[in-house]
Symmetry: C2
Subunit: 547 residues, 2 copies
């Protein structure tokens, strides 16, 4: 494939939304997702109408490479979003990335390279000239392999401005079509960032088809303001994540940036996006369910209270004239709380249709599992709403090949009893084993009972529960974090059940299955490596990174 400049876009006021939820977001502690969850998120991002999906960092691990490829195959068809992967400025990273994004109708490699003196000195340990040469080589190679090349000078905010422009001019020559200016450490402010972006926009303006992009972190609470400052300065791509997830304090939040532009277009010279804003609430909820990482009630746009008007005078004002206190409507972001009026007489077709509307594309096995649980739930609740449906769908994600599954659980506990749990667990070969255990409470006792059957594989590190909807009969959604005793890696397990103890046992067993699945995958990769010399151009060990 030859270098291929981005096709000129007639609409110079359109802001491209580059979503990095699956890359920068997924790196955050506790936000790890399974392949199936990543695909669900990718489908919802496509429904939102994002322009670019950064699906991962293929060189980080075979699993990352595989999931980027799966996203490219699943949503990267003609008319779909551009599929992008991250790569360091090395031949190995660039080639690995190109292979992963290959299946997409439109693909991109995002190359990052630190340019600030502090990074050069302490991390890369090389000179400015050496960095420049590495950038040229990597971009030249990438341009020959994919449709679009994006270049990020890491820690741009702390890079000498003159040197920054030299590096950018060099990579444009080599075929870069997007120049992304990350504020890696979340240090900048709107007043500085606007100037930084303006200088880069002046450079890019000399090269038709080259766009400037923002990438802001929220360490000082300024990520959204900085992103908007970048747009005012002429940036035409913004890198964002759903719910603002990401390293440390996270990235600029997609929903806040989009709704600020939508609500205050006049301040941004008419800048606008192609986002279907009515999909924002669903996208946010889907991600919360996949990661078990919930937004605060006062999170802008997508928090539970974002559109509530508690104060008496506010309610009075809203009743008299909505615009008195409302600058956006809940409907405009899909938060109108439309409830599924499905009950026990609803059929498979109605449920399947609703799941599809909500962004859950399930295969037949998963759908049948959800349908069975839906029927059970209808026996308890008169009205099953979207939140229940979403929780059931997320719980039904195939958790790698499940080694163990819970057949039966019984628990006795109380203030004057020693909490005791008995479980029956089925192995993959169909045989069942009974085990029991005691603990500080019924959940602890159930985890010990599971350990008695499967062995002590992982340590329970965190435990979060919430009820999915209100009232009696509501589902409890439990997320646990477990740490593999062997490798030290952390995994998230989910369980959903009206009984919080059963949901917890399911979540713990799910976590155990994920630990075992990862061990199997690592073993398979090691076996493959033995039978084949691995080609490495750069000796540095690939590692997860954040541009």
């Amino acid at each position: 494939m030859s270098p291929n400049r981005q096709s000129p876009d007639d609409d110079v006021k359109r802001i491209r939304i580059f979503d990095t939820t699956l890359r920068d977001g997924e790196q955050a502690p506790g936000c790890t997702m399974t392949l199936s969850e990543k695909l669900d998120v990718a489908h919802q991002l496509t429904r939102l109408g994002v322009d670019v999906i950064e699906a991962g960092y293929p060189a980080a691990s075979p699993g990352d490479a595989e999931s980027v490829k799966a996203v490219a195959e699943e949503v990267g068809g003609a008319g779909g979003p551009t599929i992008c992967g991250l790569a360091r400025a090395t031949e190995h990273d660039v080639r690995t990335c190109a292979a992963s994004v290959g299946p997409a109708a439109r693909n991109r490699i995002h190359i990052f390279l630190a340019t600030s003196d502090i990074h050069l000195k302490h991390k890369l340990r090389c000179s400015r000239d050496e960095v420049l040469a590495r950038g040229r080589d990597a971009v030249t190679l990438a341009s020959s392999l994919v449709h679009e090349v994006e270049f990020s000078p890491e820690d741009a905010a702390r890079t000498d401005p003159e040197y920054l422009l030299d590096v950018l001019a060099a990579v444009i020559e080599c075929g870069a079509t997007t120049l992304n200016i990350p504020d890696t450490v979340g240090f900048t402010t709107p007043w500085e960032y606007e100037n930084t972006i303006r200088r880069v926009v002046e450079l890019a303006a000399k090269h038709p088809g080259v766009l400037v992009s923002t990438h802001c972190h929220d360490d000082l609470g300024l990520a959204v303001a900085n992103t908007l400052a970048g747009i005012r300065a002429g940036a035409r791509q913004v890198e964002v994540t759903l719910n603002g997830i990401g390293e440390r304090a996270g990235n600029a939040s997609l929903e806040e940036v989009v709704m600020a532009l939508h609500t205050r277009a006049e301040l941004f010279d008419g800048a606008h996006t192609r986002i279907d804003t009515t999909q924002l609430t669903r996208a946010s909820r889907l991600l919360q369910q996949c990661t078990g990482t919930y937004v605060a009630p006062n999170k802008a746009i997508v928090g539970a209270n974002a559109f509530s008007h508690e104060a008496g005078i506010h309610q009075d004002g809203v009743l008299k004239h909505r615009a008195t206190y409302e600058i956006m409507t809940p409907e405009s972001v899909g938060a109108d709380g439309s409830m599924l009026v499905l009950g026990k007489h609803s059929g498979r077709h109605a449920l399947r249709q609703r799941l599809a509307d909500m962004g859950h594309e399930l295969d037949d096995d998963r759908f049948l599992e959800v349908f069975a649980r839906f029927k059970e739930l209808c026996d308890r609740k008169k009205v099953v709403d979207d939140r229940d449906i979403a929780a059931l769908a997320t719980a039904a994600h195939d958790h790698a090949p499940a080694r163990w599954s819970l057949v039966q659980l019984q628990v006795a506990s109380g203030t004057h009893l020693i909490p005791t749990s008995t479980v029956k667990i089925r192995a993959a070969d169909g045989t069942s084993t009974v085990g029991s255990g005691t603990g500080d409470g019924p959940v602890d006792a159930s985890c010990r009972a599971i350990d008695a059957v499967v062995g002590e594989i992982a340590e329970l590190q965190g435990f979060t529960t919430r009820s999915v909807s209100e009232g009696t009969g509501a589902l409890a959604e439990v997320t646990v974090r477990v740490k593999d005793f062997l490798t030290g890696r952390t995994f998230v397990g989910h369980g959903t059940n009206p009984d919080v103890v059963t949901a917890s046992a399911e979540a713990y067993l799910d976590g155990v299955n994920r630990v075992l699945g990862a061990r199997d995958a690592a073993q398979a990769a090691a076996d493959a490596a033995e039978s084949q010399m691995q080609y490495t151009f750069d000796s540095t060990k690939p590692a997860r990174v954040s541009a």
Copy 2:
């Protein structure tokens, strides 16, 4: 008391921190606090070093008036923060407020009055001249009653700029010493707000001792940036809340504004605060525990991940040179995770000292309860850390006179059992009653068992659990939201126990006690009203508001 201009402050670059966590924050859904919780927060705000505590809106209810007065008495001594209360521009509100803040060594009335045409037309239904006269009258009266008067033109961002300046000039004449410019609906941006504030600062500059203040809401994710823009324009007071809580998407977050100033002082012409930043993490956690409203892990400054460096390359960089990725240290905000190395051999003095350091001032009864639970916990965990201690202290808050307390609980549940719970509950008169119930799970069954004893008083609406610290033996902290069947009001109940089902039963019973306590208080207020004609200057019913 005669009008009393703010004493001139030599330090023209000092930013006054006006904390409205207890007023604007406490109004948010789910953030209601008991008097005892409010006092704990007030003590921690004092330890943080805020300049002004807005403690509530006295005219809203007798309970609000009482809690503002209690804060004034408890932390408003000489050298303590100024204690402020909110008031509408009516004689009744102003006099009620003056009585409540009276006990403080330095006190303030914060008068708000809508000035935008949309509010005048749809809410106040009066003319610009009428509004101007109301503002003058209220400020004149307030100046005669307290040390400082603050005036807020509500919805200032949408008010005609000329009219805004006319109103402000008029209230300065009548004795207002702080002019607060709220962006009530969260609509403004740094680029507009900086200009708005600059015009007001020009006006204030003609009147020595008059300061300009910001008050920003986060509906578009811009509250912190707008606040900082105000400081750049010359504002010398900022209205903020811990964790950014407040109506809808909340207010500008105290910790983000303070740390942005602290980290980037050079961009704000040396503007600085008197805040002890090492108290920020504790303040944030205390508020989360009091309200059961938790911040997201990626919340800037105080989120669980705010200082984590997950990515391999980041960890590498941090190890090589901290400044590579860290713009603030965890120590600077008190997030160094200093663990209390207290175990079962630690005595009362050590625990009491630690509690005091952490901001929990407990009376003897509450302390003894915490100490007993601490000893129990030490039997389960080798090391009890600050998070456990804080959870125990918060759980020990006196929840109004407890009508009912849990003596014993036993539960049987499982996948093939009908969850069944039996409780023994003691009434205030010392008699105990046993009840049992069944439900969808052990928590539901326990709530039904409690109902069997106390009657069906409230509906369980929400349920959140998290483990306070890691590993086995960790405490489960349960927050429930219950709705009074009689009045429709919602209350929050807390429970903390290593057993999640016991913690849930405690939380539900706590919620029930709060419902009953509120009914008693309402009855007492109604009785008092009957025996005494109530003086009202303005016929409008007082209601909770947000400036």
